[in-house]
Amino acid sequence: GGIITQTPKFLIGQEGQKLTLKCQQNFNHDTMYWYRQDSGKGLRLIYYSITENDLQKGDLSEGYDASREKKSSFSLTVTSAQKNEMAVFLCASSINWGVNYAEQFFGPGTRLTVL
């Protein structure tokens, strides 16, 4: 078994501010993901990384940067927070595609509010 932790749990920012969200996993999974969840829009992929120092853009990457300095951690930066933005950011991890069904395990989420 393993666990994914996300920090902070709640993040309140100001318009234009640069905000960083962090994710750690101890599954020893190769692939990590960042999703954004908005009400009525499901999960949308922002960035993913298949190994340390790798970055791949998802459909929603504009306005975000990501960093995978080591296998166990994946951080996401909102480059300029948008006023009245509210969303939950979910981090996930999975083993490499070719090995298994690539079940993704999700963290508890970071809830972002921009004032």
């Binding site: 009525g40 595609w97 963290g107």
Partner: protein
Amino acid sequence: GQQVKQSSPSLTVQEGGILILNCDYENDMFDYFAWYKKYPDNSPTLLISVRSNVDKREDGRFTVFLNKSGKHFSLHITASQPEDTAVYLCAAGYTGYQNFYFGKGTSLTVIP
């Protein structure tokens, strides 16, 4: 466009009933299909998944049916229980490409 679509935002069923959740997809390269379950204020967890080399997979009360020619897959839940009340997200992807697409979710309520 949206790669994976769930047409029903919500469903309500009486306890003990059978229900079907539907999902349509656009990319015929998808070869892995999954249903995730999400309780309020919790993260999604994998419920059941299937690869494209089979058209059905059963796990207890849950069965996934895959119709590749119709680009459609569904989740059948039998003997529904109040604890099945949750949001169900369908998802799909394809081998060699780690990106993964989720539907918007169907909120299921099972009435005791």
